[in-house]
């Protein structure tokens, strides 16, 4: 699916990265722990998280993640959005909770990628 479709499915608000909405994505991950994202994520293009700081953007940058979705209706601080713009990442917010947001995307065909050994 495209990031535009992700946005529709989650009834999300786009905060930056409009130019990425046509990008195709196939896998996603959900975590509030950036250490685990760095340890276990492989080729996932979308990160769902409730963590709200600059290190979420930096983690996404290092992992080649295209889009960050903040769950539970959380609004990132302006400097977090600015850093995402600088790094050419898309940011969305959704009022869905983590479990529901992940479930909705999974149900629509997005998967979790490779199984961790």
């Amino acid at each position: 699916m495209t990031l535009g479709e992700v946005k529709t499915i989650l009834d999300a608000q786009l905060l930056c990265g409009e130019e990425l909405l046509d990008q195709e994505v196939h896998t996603a991950c959900g975590s509030d722990l950036m250490s685990d994202v760095l340890a276990f994520v492989k080729d996932q293009a979308v990160l769902l998280t409730g963590l709200m700081n600059q290190q979420v953007i930096r983690t996404a940058e290092m992992m080649d993640i295209l889009c960050i979705i903040f769950v539970r209706g959380k609004e990132p601080a302006p400097e977090v959005v600015e850093l995402a713009k600088e790094k050419d990442l898309a940011i969305m917010t959704t009022t869905h909770r983590m479990f529901t947001a992940c479930g909705l995307l999974f149900q629509s065909g997005l998967n979790g990628g490779v199984h961790i050994q």
């Binding site: 722990l33 250490s35 760095l38 340890a39 700081n53 290190q55 930096r58 290092m62 080649d64």
Partner: protein, 140 residues
């Protein structure tokens, strides 16, 4: 290829800036045309190390050397040092304070991750003097 050298000072008092050096190296390697796999390995290994410099080392310095065969990263701090390196290398072992955990780090995955994403890694540490971590990512 002529050797390239990059040097970064990592401030110890500003967690929001942790990752600037790693982001800069990632962009530089990408521009130099290295494979996405190499770029990502270097970026993740160095980012974890940079986070450690800020969390544990009170800041420090990073030197990155690139030659035709490998990328070598040396991260040095003058922090408290690591009393038991073997223990520190265990997944899940962490001495990070709670405020760091609330920022999404401190799960005890830093050093194991650095080892996982680099081809060679050595940790030298003297309690009370500081820690130097050297990581190598091979280009071929």
């Amino acid at each position: 290829m002529k050797g390239l050298h990059y040097h970064y000072q990592v401030p110890g008092d500003d967690f929001t800036r942790a990752g600037e050096a790693s982001g800069a190296i990632k962009a530089a390697l990408k521009k130099l045309g290295f494979s996405p796999q190499v770029v990502r390995k270097v970026a993740i290994a160095m980012y974890e190390g940079e986070i450690n410099l800020v969390i544990h080392g009170g800041g420090g310095e990073i030197d990155v050397d690139i030659d035709g065969e490998k990328v070598t990263m040396v991260l040095a701090d003058h922090g408290p040092g690591i009393p038991d390196i073997q223990k520190a290398m265990e997944e899940g072992w962490s001495t990070a304070p709670d405020n760091v955990r609330s920022l999404g780090f401190g799960a005890g995955m830093g050093l194991p991750n650095m080892k996982k994403y680099s081809d060679e890694m050595t940790v030298e540490s003297v309690v009370g003097e500081g820690t130097t971590v050297t990581m190598v990512v091979k280009l071929v």
